[in-house]
């Protein structure tokens, strides 16, 4: 275990170094605008301190999305750390009952995440991979369509948000979401929160919640927690911008989305084998 950790750290360090080089180069050539450059900072948390970006302004994008590099995720990332980073900061209660649990991001295997792509002779490698699932911040979100009070809504930058004060708890969004991404607070969640983070609101009994792609952080110019905790396995950026990290990552190999055939337009992409984000060091696995 320890050895693996060391390996991970090493890999990660070399990776962030690569990233820093890339950043410098990008800035030098002016290939990336300030906005785009600001984005790059988030892919590699180690750079956050080092780089002085000054302005804490909100990040802007036309369509925020995530690219999850499955191979990297399984090799270099620590699932529970990522999940914990999200859940702890967002005061997500730890309810240990599959019926009433609340979860924003969690892990599952290929056979379940991509049920329709499963087959009897699936490679053992793929079978062994774990995936992270969360709200897909769909382009055409059915949860938003069905909500009778507009308590869940889509922002101009593509993030699907929740207004916990308007939600009446009818759970139409839970039924309407084809990804089971939403949870109801079946009871007062506060007793189930290990340590309440005062910087984020807790929810009340009877309202629905889900991943918000860390809007509160994006609006402060910070990347989502899961991205930050992923050791570079989760790339975050503007899907509408061909120069963005996410778009470049998508160029590097086969990407799939959960149940794309339903037309919801999920904005979370999974990079499957063979592909490593071009930005984030193709050399890493070489």
């Amino acid at each position: 275990m320890r050895k693996r950790d060391d390996q991970q750290t090493k890999a990660y360090e070399s990776h962030s170094l690569k990233r820093r080089d890339f950043l410098k180069a990008a800035l030098a050539t002016g290939a990336v605008g300030l906005g785009g450059a600001a984005l790059l900072r988030f892919i590699s948390p180690a750079d956050t301190e080092a780089a002085d970006w000054g302005s804490p302004n909100a990040l802007g994008a036309k369509h925020w999305g995530l690219v999850i590099d499955v191979e990297k995720l399984n090799r270099f990332a620590n699932f529970s750390q990522i999940i914990e980073a999200c859940h702890a900061h967002h005061n997500v209660p730890a309810v240990n009952d599959p019926k009433t649990e609340v979860k924003w991001i969690w892990q599952d295997d290929f056979e379940h995440c991509f049920e329709e792509l499963d087959n009897a002779y699936l490679s053992e490698d793929i079978k062994a991979q774990e995936f992270l699932v969360l709200c897909n911040h769909c382009e055409n979100p059915s949860c938003v369509r069905v909500c009778p009070t507009q308590a869940t809504f889509k922002r101009d930058d593509g993030i699907v948000c929740m207004d916990y004060h308007r939600c009446i708890g009818c759970r139409f969004c839970m039924t309407g979401c084809p990804y089971n991404a939403r949870s109801l607070n079946f009871f007062d969640p506060r007793p189930y929160i290990k340590e309440i983070d005062p910087d984020y609101p807790t929810r009340t009994q009877g309202v629905v919640e889900k991943c918000t792609l860390c809007v509160e952080r994006i609006d402060q110019g910070l990347p989502p927690y899961c991205v930050e905790a992923s050791n570079g396995a989760i790339v975050f950026g503007d899907l509408a911008d061909p120069e963005s990290d996410v778009r470049q990552a998508l160029q590097s190999g086969l990407s799939i989305r959960r149940k794309a055939e339903l037309g919801a337009g999920p904005s979370v992409y999974y990079l499957i084998g063979g592909g490593v984000p071009a930005v984030a060091g193709g050399e890493l696995n070489a």
Partner: protein, 383 residues
């Protein structure tokens, strides 16, 4: 006129007391749920809708009974229904009140229910559902009450009330259609995503509702001097027969598509409901019971001798009514959640608290019905 509900026989008071007890127990159970949250019910993250929503759907279906008697009477001048029309309207009133209450107890934050009207969302079917249900409730109360007042004075129903009755016909159809659209438009819920769902809802409603109305008429005939014409009962029974036959036919269309196409998404919910899936099969006995009841009901209603005999008619009607309840008030909603988006099965079992709340709401609906019918009977006894 309402004061007429205050005087009745001993039997009447015992019945009221029984319903009152159901309501009180239900209210206590509901206050527990209000306090603790929906965790006191059997619903879960994977099956977010349970018996509350399915009872809501079922009762909204019962409410269309009003138009099933109004159409023959007003559009085809079928005189035998003259005395039944008001009963149909009031059955609609009680059913819609029950349906709305089921939505309210289902909410996680019931105090905020007005948000639906404060922030109207035309894209949400739930919004339209509340609009049509509210309108239908209002129209049914007004029509029923006006017709009764006219009857009391020995006057014909005023013209405007007749116009309102015509309006109530498309409204009732809309209630069922919108109700079906709550389900039929959801991506990834293949059991519901079928174009025939609204038609199934209508046919099922036109079977269960009139079946209930006939049984109520028979009970009224037993406990009061007011008799519904044999002709009216037989006409209603035929409506029930046609409706249940059409309903079964529609269901078999679904079965064909699922079985012949062999597309798993079309099949899995049906497989789960009738044969179990991944070792889960809580609903199997109920679904088979519904299938058997449908055929018993159809057979007994189709044979004139059995349909004309009061005793066998009641058996047939009970069969149809419970078949409708099992299919729409149980299997339809719960089957749609299997499997979840990860291909897993989470089963739903209602809790005792939940069942007490449900019986409390049925208690309220029956209380409303009893009081309204009591007034009708009292008014009619006077002439």
């Amino acid at each position: 006129m309402l004061e007429k509900a205050l005087h009745g026989s001993r039997r009447y008071y015992i019945w009221l007391a029984f319903l009152g007890a159901l309501v009180i127990v239900g209210a206590i159970a509901y206050s527990r749920q209000l306090n603790y949250g929906l965790g006191l019910t059997g619903i879960s993250r994977d099956v977010p809708w349970g018996l509350y929503i399915s009872q809501f759907t079922f009762l909204a279906g019962i409410s269309v009974t009003g138009v099933m008697v109004a159409i023959p009477h007003y559009l085809h001048n079928f005189k035998a229904f003259a005395k039944v029309v008001i009963l149909g309207e009031f059955l609609a009133v009680a059913a819609v009140i029950g349906a709305i209450l089921f939505v309210v107890v289902d909410l996680g934050q019931p105090a905020r229910v007005m948000n639906v009207l404060l922030y109207p969302s035309p894209w949400s079917i739930m919004f339209w559902d509340i609009v049509v249900l509210g309108a239908y409730l209002l129209v049914s109360i007004v029509i029923g009450w006006t017709a009764l007042a006219a009857e009391k004075k020995g006057l014909p129903v005023p013209r405007w009330a007749k116009v309102l009755t015509y309006l109530s016909i498309p409204l009732a159809i809309a209630v069922q259609t919108v109700e079906a659209f709550l389900y039929a438009g959801l991506p990834g819920k293949d059991y519901w995503a079928t174009a025939i769902l609204a038609a199934r809802f209508l046919s099922s409603a036109f079977a269960s509702g009139p079946a209930l109305l006939i049984m109520i008429c028979m009970i009224i005939g037993k406990v009061s001097s007011f008799k519904v014409l044999e002709k009216a009962i037989d006409a209603l029974a035929k409506i029930v027969l046609y409706a249940i036959v059409i309903n079964v036919f529609f269901f078999l269309l679904e079965v064909f598509t699922a079985l012949y196409s062999q597309v798993p998404a079309h099949q899995v919910s049906l497989t789960y409901l009738f044969f179990g899936y991944q070792g889960h099969g809580n609903l199997m006995p109920f679904m088979w019971a519904a299938a058997i009841l449908a055929f018993i009901g159809i057979f007994m209603l189709a044979v004139p001798k059995l349909r004309h005999n009061k005793k066998t008619l009641v058996v047939a009607l009970l069969a149809v009514f419970f078949c409708g309840w099992l299919d729409k008030g149980l299997g339809l909603v719960l089957g749609g959640f299997v499997p979840d988006s990860f291909g897993r099965v989470m089963e739903y079992t209602p809790t005792v608290n939940e069942v007490l709340i449900i019986s409390g709401i049925y208690g309220i609906a029956m209380l409303v019905l009893t009081i309204l019918y009591k007034v009708v009977i009292a008014v009619r006894r006077e002439d």
